[in-house]
Symmetry: C2
Subunit: 239 residues, 2 copies
């Protein structure tokens, strides 16, 4: 029994851990590849200096990695605070409205087809230990897992670094070309290849059809860049 | 009993719904306020034309809102696919390894202090209906809720729109000023006020200390803008 429990816990850990980590990399890298690429593309149709494109790209990577990292950190913090406030409320309810909480336990198991006497036994036995009862209600009534304290920090670092790595790729082309439009051509080729590889990798780890997933990611990068190019040029002609 | 169940379900719905919606707005708006502000600030120290700053800002908002929306959409999709693959595996395990699955049910309730005979009754009763058994394992063993099919789409729209709204605020200053550095001054005042208001609102809905939360959000915006300004200017002088 204990072996099953331990191996299952590790299995769940692994699943949750890798899924969250991969989600962070997917978000960070895809935005990092997409936004500086699309920004540089947008500026390439509107300005005549590679230095301006690179400067804007670098400013974007600095700002974006801080904001993305912060986004992950805030989301993690919010999740943690939400858990704490719900925990406080469950303790309050278990203390002051135990009969209502017990009937909530019975309702949970009614949904899974357990018969009435079993539901009563479960509710009565759970009520013997208030800490375990609250733990049960948090997870099984509200569906809330206790958030990992390190999770928000790790998530912030992963997203921020993924963003920088992704963002530098499309900019490199502008260092070795004389004009923004030539830079854009090389940058587009380089970025589209990376979007495809990244999309393929992403699809593989998430168990999706690989080629279809890769094409989807690539297409969205191209759409963002084309939209930025067209709108930036239109804006630049108007002002 | 039914009344309690219904009101509790609505209560949970409301909690989950508003929390996810608020998280999306928090991410979209904070990045929308922060990144175009910081990008414009970075360019203000390096270029001499407001038109370039505005063009870059607009390109960034277009690219950022598409990428952020896409980020939310992909994260939602990934969550949905993860659920499907785990569901498939649980059905397989219930079908082919029922005794192991039953002992996993017993382990779950051992953690909550239920005695052995109760654990056996629960495992045996659950095993009578395979669909409900799998539902139970998904939620209570793996902690996975069936993802809302509309959630990914709504999340993408919320993040994208929040990003555009947030991003246009810092740019407006550059329309009405003659030079980027003057634009930056007005933009910084405007954005800092909005970051503070937004931070206050965010802290209020998430139940944090309001003034402290507002100052935290504002400070991070200022750090991103200052970092972008300094690094963009250094880069511009080097190339």
């Amino acid at each position: 029994m204990n072996d099953i429990s331990t191996s299952k816990d590790m299995h769940i850990e692994e699943h949750l851990g890798s899924s969250a980590f991969i989600t962070d990399i997917v978000i960070g890298m895809s935005d990092g590849l997409t936004v500086p690429f699309a920004l540089a593309a947008g500026l390439s149709g509107a300005v005549h200096s590679n230095a301006v494109v690179i400067t804007a790209g670098v400013a974007e990577i600095v700002a974006g990695s801080i904001a993305m990292g912060l986004g992950g950190y805030l989301a993690g913090k919010t999740e943690q605070e939400h858990y704490q406030s719900e925990l406080f409320r469950e303790y309050d309810e278990v203390e002051n409205l135990p009969e209502i909480e017990k009937s909530e336990v019975r309702v949970i198991f009614e949904e899974y087809g357990l018969n009435e006497s079993t539901r009563n036994i479960i509710a009565d036995e759970l009520a013997k230990d208030k800490d375990k009862w609250v733990d049960f209600m948090m997870k099984y009534e509200l569906g809330l897992e206790r958030p990992d304290a390190n999770r928000a920090r790790n998530s912030a670092a992963t997203i921020g670094i993924s963003y920088i790595v992704g963002g530098l790729i499309p900019l490199t082309a502008y260092f070795f070309t004389p004009t923004p439009l030539e830079g854009l051509m090389i940058s587009a080729i380089l970025t589209v290849i990376c979007l495809f590889i990244f999309g393929y990798f992403k699809s593989k780890v998430t168990g999706q059809p690989k080629i279809k997933g890769a094409l989807k990611v690539t297409l969205i990068g191209i759409i963002a860049a084309a939209a930025a190019f067209l709108i930036a040029r239109t804006f630049n002609n108007l002002i």
